[in-house]
């Protein structure tokens, strides 16, 4: 894995102040050339001596970050759960919840997807497949583990054919607990992941 991934999003209770602050506000601050004192600015140096090319780069970055936040395409993989969470994911995609408002589309091919939604514990058989699907997705990519099983192994923990939670195989960016978790919880988790996209 080229990117070092932080696992510290897990212990923070969801919806706390800290996580929300990191979102669009911080992004907006680094947008304008006059936003002094933001951490990006300090790294880049004084805005007047900053070369035009780098400033242009920052604008492009901001646009790309906006596009990534607005257009998450998801891929769904069950690595060995009881199918309960999968039914909830499919319920999330129905017109009743209308996740297309957030730009979320379900894609069939890993090559098109941005977010991998994993459900269930990882079994010995599906471990390699999960890893392969993850490797097939183009960067930047995020993994969301949906359901208690994929967060921790859940009721399947310790079974002879089970490796354990999803984060033992691929790096996970957002955990959504629940057995099974409700569609509202999944949407909330995805929305918070999108807010934290850098």
């Amino acid at each position: 894995m080229e990117q070092t991934r932080t696992y510290d999003r897990l212990p923070t209770p969801r919806g706390t102040k800290m996580q929300r602050e990191e979102g669009p506000k911080a992004c907006r601050k680094s947008l304008g050339p006059g936003a002094e004192g933001s951490s990006r600015q300090q790294i880049a140096g004084d805005s007047r001596t900053e070369p035009t090319k780098r400033r242009l780069q920052r604008y492009v970055d901001a646009v790309v970050r906006w596009a990534r936040r607005k257009s998450p395409w998801i891929l769904h993989y069950n690595s060995g759960g009881c199918n309960g969470c999968d039914i909830e994911i499919l319920a999330t995609l129905t017109p009743r919840y209308d996740v297309e408002r957030l730009g979320i589309l379900k894609e069939g091919s890993p090559r098109h997807a941005d977010i991998l939604l994993c459900t269930g514990p990882v079994t010995l058989q599906s471990r390699d497949r999960l890893r392969r699907i993850y490797e097939q997705m183009p960067e930047p990519k995020w993994v969301v583990s949906v359901g208690t099983c994929s967060c921790s192994g859940g009721v399947f923990k310790g079974a002879i054919n089970v490796v354990g939670s999803v984060d033992q195989v691929v790096p996970v960016d957002m955990y959504i607990p629940g057995c099974p978790c409700r569609p509202e919880a999944i949407i909330d988790g995805l929305a918070q992941l999108l807010r934290s996209i850098e």
């Binding site: 646009v63 790309v64 906006w66 596009a67 990534r68 607005k70 257009s71 017109p95 009743r96 209308d98 297309e100 408002r101 730009g103 894609e107 069939g108 091919s109 090559r111 098109h112 941005d114 097939q136 183009p138 960067e139 930047p140």
Partner: protein, 307 residues
Amino acid sequence: MNALIKMLIFPGFGFLFIAALAFDWIDRRMIARFHGRVGPPWYQPLADFIKLLAKEDVVAEGTHGLAAAALPIVSLTAVMTASLYIPVGGIVGASFEGDLIVVLFLLALPALAYFLAGWISAGVYSVLGGHRSLLQYFSCEVPFLMAVTCPAILAGSWSINEISNFQAQTAWSALTQPLGFILALIGLIGKLKRDPLDIPKAKSEVVAGPLTDFSGRKLALWHLTMNMQTVLGIFLLVNLFFGGSRFFNRVPALPVFGLKSVAILLMLSTASALYARLRIDQLMDLGWRILAPLALIQILATLWIGG
């Protein structure tokens, strides 16, 4: 200078790009309304496009890298070239006797590129999708071409601009040849691989068809090509069957043209929301046993009336 503006801005690339994104949004929004939901915000196609441009571009092992890079560019070029010959709102980019045939040829190139995209990929789904796209092309293109020739026969000209002018002075082909219009609409749905006939890229069967292994920039170009093709197909039908930008012999106007285009887009969206996908053998049956003979009848009737 004038030609440059025409090529790059108004009926050319800039306008086509904006129209492609706008039509994509209108289409998605209308399908969402059919489902009883709200649908994506207006910037959604733009965000999708930028995101795909900024994504990693993976070339899978076993794929012909050069061809994978060239095919989306070739099809985009063909579609953009075709846009020069289709009059938009009374403004003609370029026109000569026989440009209808050139446009039909240029709009057929992306279908070939789409098949080749499946052929050069290593994945089984891509190859299967490519074969399906070729079969679908053969069964949809023939009725489409035959239906599109009817207005040309009636007007006695192979120039899109003259055909639409002729109809503005007499009557719309959609009224005099309703059968031809319906056939052309079905053929267009098949050409664009839109929802009831999205057999080559059926998600639940062949993942994403020939585009399964494409990602990043190439996928963005493919999506753009598809959206531009939709726009051009609709513009073509407006010119050939609805008298272009004129409303009962009044002055040509862009709003009239826009309204007619959106009306056809609404028909396409309705079809995608209402009907389930056909199997490939059902489509072959429909294309060769029903649509092609009907198109033949329409041509004979046109010859009988017009000739």
